[in-house]
């Protein structure tokens, strides 16, 4: 039942071990059972930010797909104009945006598709793809210069 790899530094995420008495195979689940996304009342969830929500272990927010990635986007705050293009087109809800500001990338949910880099309008781009093994600081120091428009 392993759908996620073990990623260092994500102790809050990843496939959490359910208690031995709760662990049932997919073919042993009783019909009509529901998986609750949240612990307790979920009535006003739409007005709560992700960090204020009480996610249940069944919510895929607690899981990670970081092992899918071979290239990763790196975010450069200095160039970003907070246009939120990357936020609206990210297929994996991995762009963290709060109060009209882009804060960064959720590397637990990002699959490295590269859509955010393609839709970034700045020059040079404020998001670029680097190899998964590259360190973010090193990537930021090697950021390209502004390109002049070709006439």
């Amino acid at each position: 039942m392993s759908i996620t790899g073990s990623v260092p530094g994500t102790d809050k995420r990843g496939l959490r071990e359910l208690g031995a008495e709760e662990k049932v195979g997919w073919d042993e689940v009783t019909q009509g059972v529901t998986l609750n996304s949240f612990v307790g009342d979920a009535a006003d969830i739409v007005h709560k930010k992700a960090e204020e929500r009480n996610y249940n272990d069944f919510n895929s927010y607690t899981a990670t797909v970081a092992s899918w990635r071979i290239i990763k986007p790196v975010y450069n705050r200095d160039i970003c104009i907070d246009c939120q293009n990357c936020w609206v087109w990210c297929p994996d809800t991995s762009i963290i945006s709060r109060d009209k500001q882009m804060l960064g990338i959720d590397y637990d949910h990002c699959k490295g598709c590269g859509v955010c880099v393609e839709v970034c309008p700045t020059n040079p781009k404020s998001l670029l793809m680097f190899g998964e093994a590259e360190e973010n600081d090193k990537a930021l120091s090697a950021w390209p210069e502004k390109k002049k428009k070709e006439k």
Binding site: F58, S60, Y61, A63, V88, P91, T93, H109, V115, M129
Partner: protein, 317 residues
């Protein structure tokens, strides 16, 4: 009515996502862009029904669910039925006074792929539209059965290479025209029918809000570029969708009450269809000299359709 502001992207981005990451859709899949946008454009409680398809198998892999709303998975054909039944039950319980919170606004939405909308769930969808339930059906049209290996569906366009309509020495891929689902749904007399694309996020969010606000059955066909079966690089999802709308392969328009047609996006430069076809591996064979007539046919179909839409818009009948 709690509709969120979509004046600009910055305001739109203050919404809290209700579609969580770590679902198992392919990297760069447009399905999740469309679903996220629908769930972000309203504050109301949502009851969502999903047909079997890519979206359903990837967002509810035991023991995880990616949905922060009520979500029902049902057979390949029944999302429209499930949504309409949930809506009927909601109304009945409201009348009886047995709801916990009768004033909370609830919207009913059904998601289906093109296989379950155009082919397998067609009869059920037609029935739900005819009965006039207050729900919104959204078709995520990726033009094939992508979940099962890319078989042809009746949404597959002419000339596409699919695993059951293969291109080769004796065939140029699918020979039949794509079914015009938007026109069929408009002919049901549905109050709001539209074809939208994720690259034009504002017209899409507006369309979704309009559909959720409208009482009665609404149908929205959305273009969902499929990186796996259309065979392009995952990063190019939005670029390919841009080409689709700019070549008018997917014109963006709405039909209100079955007759009032509005074109929502007019490209400044209408591109030739070769640009769209050339960006995808599934059309590669069309660029052989013996298949030139297929491209000409596709371009002719597009021009005729665009002419038809423009004249329908002018006529207002």
């Amino acid at each position: 009515m709690a509709i969120t502001s979509i004046k600009n992207l910055k305001e739109f981005s203050t919404n809290n996502d209700r579609f969580e990451g770590a679902h198992l859709l392919c990297p760069g899949c447009a399905h999740s862009m469309i679903v996220r946008e629908l769930m972000n454009c309203t504050d109301d409680n949502l009851v969502i029904a999903s047909n079997t398809g890519c979206l359903e198998v990837s967002t509810a892999v035991y023991p995880y669910t990616s949905w922060d709303t009520s979500w029902i998975h049902i057979g390949f054909e029944n999302a429209a039925t499930a949504a309409s039944c949930a809506e009927s039950m909601y109304k009945a319980r409201k009348n009886k006074g047995t709801l916990k919170d009768p004033d909370a606004p609830v919207k009913f939405v059904a998601f289906g792929g093109d296989g379950s909308t155009y082919d397998i769930g067609f009869q059920w969808l037609s029935g739900a539209m005819e009965r006039g339930h207050d729900f919104t059906y959204i078709c995520l049209d990726n033009e094939n059965y992508a979940n099962t290996g890319g078989q042809r569906s009746s949404a597959t366009p002419v000339g596409a290479n699919t695993s059951t309509a293969q291109a080769g020495s004796h065939s140029y891929g699918k020979k039949q025209k794509k079914k015009d689902m938007v026109a069929i749904m408009a002919a049901h007399g549905a109050p709001y029918v539209a074809q939208l694309a994720p690259n034009k996020w504002k017209s899409m969010a507006k369309g979704f809000q309009k559909a959720l606000e409208t009482e009665g059955p609404c149908f929205i066909n959305t273009v969902s570029a499929c990186t796996t079966e259309w065979k392009f690089d995952p990063k190019d999802t939005i670029n390919v969708t841009d080409l689709a709308t700019d070549t008018l392969m997917f014109p963006i328009y709405e039909i209100i009450d079955g007759h009032e047609l509005n074109i929502l996006y007019r490209p400044k430069n209408i591109l030739k269809v070769e640009d769209y076809l050339g960006a995808q591996g599934r059309y590669r064979h069309l660029f052989k000299p013996e298949n030139k007539h297929v491209i000409e046919r596709i371009q002719k179909d597009i021009d005729e359709k665009w002419e038809f839409l423009q004249r329908r818009e002018e006529a207002r009948i």
